[in-house]
Subunit: 350 residues, 2 copies
DNA sequence: GTGAAAGCGCTAACAG
DNA sequence: CTGTTAGCGCTTTCAC
């Protein structure tokens, strides 16, 4: 079961070990016939170079470390998936590390990864607020995805939450809604504030102020969606659309609407955020939602990292567009038929 | 930023390179004073041995490959998390590979992992049905987790779906339910059949047959939960408990019950499967559910792999107990207060 | 054109 | 007790 080494190939081809190496790597000046003979031997023996030996010599391992603080939660998963995909295309293998949000574990992982001579690091998270930088001076490129480093100009890739809020607002306006409320997560979440900003910007520009009570900050839970909606309907019974900061909130809102006899979308349109499959499809009716295209975020981060490894370091925060996925819950009143998917932000699928 | 090598340490301590190696690894006969001097030098220089060099020599890399066919979905994630945790404790690093259920990608990943000389492989999936073996003769240990290989005696670790069904049944009987229905996923899913088996076994032994219509196989969706429940209530209006094969089905069932005016748990008890956090906590009332303890599954797989790498290969399928998490949706009728968590299957938390 | 030799960082025999 | 030597598998000068 032992793998063939270059020595075996050389012997088989009747050349020296150095010649075999050159032949296999297309280096130096060799007779075409010799190259062919070596290639043939390699093929026959199923030879593949040992990356460990190559790495030892080259000081480059073609591996990267992926660190998540998020136990591969709902947000970091797609990011890592996209990143892994993009890196795999570049022949890089990925060490996965789950810090469980423990700085000590993180320290140990970073230590281990640098010891293993990874070519770079991707750090992902579940929240976009700045976090302590990982290095600070690592000696290798670091890219943050779905999180960013405080006091650092290391590159970060984030979803465009403002744009997501804008897209939702534009869609609601376009479908004739005018009394639009916003129920979202805790105000201390940057993402919640950015989505609210996007919404109010667009509504403001259209001369349609956010409905009474302004933005309802609370929690990311279904329960909060139910509570806030009940409260909202008391204060502003003429509300005709609710944009929710998460799909879970939207689920709760939908339940509360049903309890008060409101029909979705006929009486009130409902939009969620995250486009989280089990939530949006499980909803009745299926839920319109903003997709953050997290795989794209991961892919972009991977591309930045590959560029940085190649010597072209990026800097600062880069943002990836969101995409509005329209389903029945936001059909224009009296017009329940809707094309199943509409995208905003110019992206194809993501 | 270059790391210190053993050569630097040796020079700093004024000994030869070989002596330094021995001192650092506690080999051979050395004067304690020399050992100390070398250790001190290593500490000062922040020396850490280069794993690549060690691996090249030892033929052992202290890395393992983790392959998922599931794009790190809801089921494989916790499995991988548990495995990564257990492996990390043994100082093994993990290469992560997402095959996206594409055999060609899988082939390439396996090729790459063996080229990188991983010490072993963990293969995870989303379904417990047997899949084509990965090898077949790999030369390195392979353990399957949350999936198993057809025509192979390579070890596999699976959740105890039968036991999960039993636990649900016992709980329902203990809380006084007697007209118990079961709504679950497609019959072609082994997991669905095993859960049903566990339920019917226990009910049969207690002389309480499954309610009219037997087991309702369908889909894993909320929609099916709604449909099946509506149908069930027509045929067997005196049903007093529904055990669902997934939390999503249970969500749908809950919605349907609410529509017909049934109260949960007073009129009908509801139990789900998966203990999927956003689903069970978002439910109103919170949903009793069977937890497959997938992290334990992953951990067990990692332990088996470490044992196999150490020369003590396991064989065949090993099963990890499920755990019933009791919440309000299954309180005994007329007794809505319940201890928040009760476990079945003997496990502590998982 | 091709081979011999040096060396990446480390460990394990063997001398001394 | 400690130093020297010989590699692990590969690439890369440098002679011939």
């Amino acid at each position: 079961m032992k793998r063939a080494t270059i020595r075996d190939v050389a012997a088989d081809a009747g050349v020296s070990i150095g010649t075999a190496s050159k032949a296999l790597n297309g280096q130096g000046r060799l007779r075409p016939e010799t190259r062919e003979r070596v290639a043939e031997a390699a093929r026959r023996l199923g030879f593949a170079p040992n990356p460990l030996a190559q790495a030892l010599l080259a000081g480059r391992t073609y591996t990267v470390g992926m660190i998540t603080t998020d136990s591969f939660g709902r947000f970091s998963i797609p990011v890592m998936l996209g990143a892994e995909d993009a890196l795999g295309a570049g022949q890089m293998s990925v060490f996965m590390c789950d810090t469980r949000d423990d700085p000590e574990r993180e320290r140990r992982y970073v230590e281990m990864l640098t010891a293993r001579r990874v070519d770079g690091l991707i750090v992902t998270g579940r929240r976009i607020e700045p976090r302590p930088a990982i290095g600070p001076r690592m000696g290798i490129p670091v890219v943050y995805a779905m999180t960013q480093a405080a006091d650092s100009d290391e590159p970060a890739v984030l979803p465009d939450d403002v744009g997501g809020g804008q897209a939702a607002a534009q869609h609601l306006l376009a479908t004739g809604r005018r009394r639009i409320a916003h129920i979202t997560g805790p105000e201390r979440f940057l993402a919640a504030r950015k989505r609210a900003t996007g919404l109010t910007e667009v509504l403001g520009a259209a001369g349609v102020p956010v409905a009474d009570g302004g933005v309802l900050y609370g929690e990311w839970s279904e329960r909060w969606g139910r509570e806030a909606t009940a409260r909202l309907l008391e204060q502003a019974p003429d509300t005709d659309a609710i944009f929710c900061g998460s799909d879970q909130i939207a689920r709760g809102a939908g339940d509360a609407l049903r309890l008060t006899g409101r029909r979705v979308p006929d009486d009130i349109a409902l939009i969620g955020f995250d486009n989280w499959d089990p939530m949006v499809r499980g909803s009745d009716p299926p839920l319109t939602s903003v997709d953050m295209c997290l795989e794209d975020v991961g892919r972009a981060a991977a591309e930045d990292l590959l560029a940085a490894i190649g010597g072209e370091a990026a800097h600062g925060v880069r943002t990836v567009p969101c995409r509005l996925v329209v389903r029945e819950s936001s059909a224009a009143a009296g017009q329940p038929e809707v094309a199943p998917v509409v995208s905003a932000g110019g992206g194809a699928d993501c």
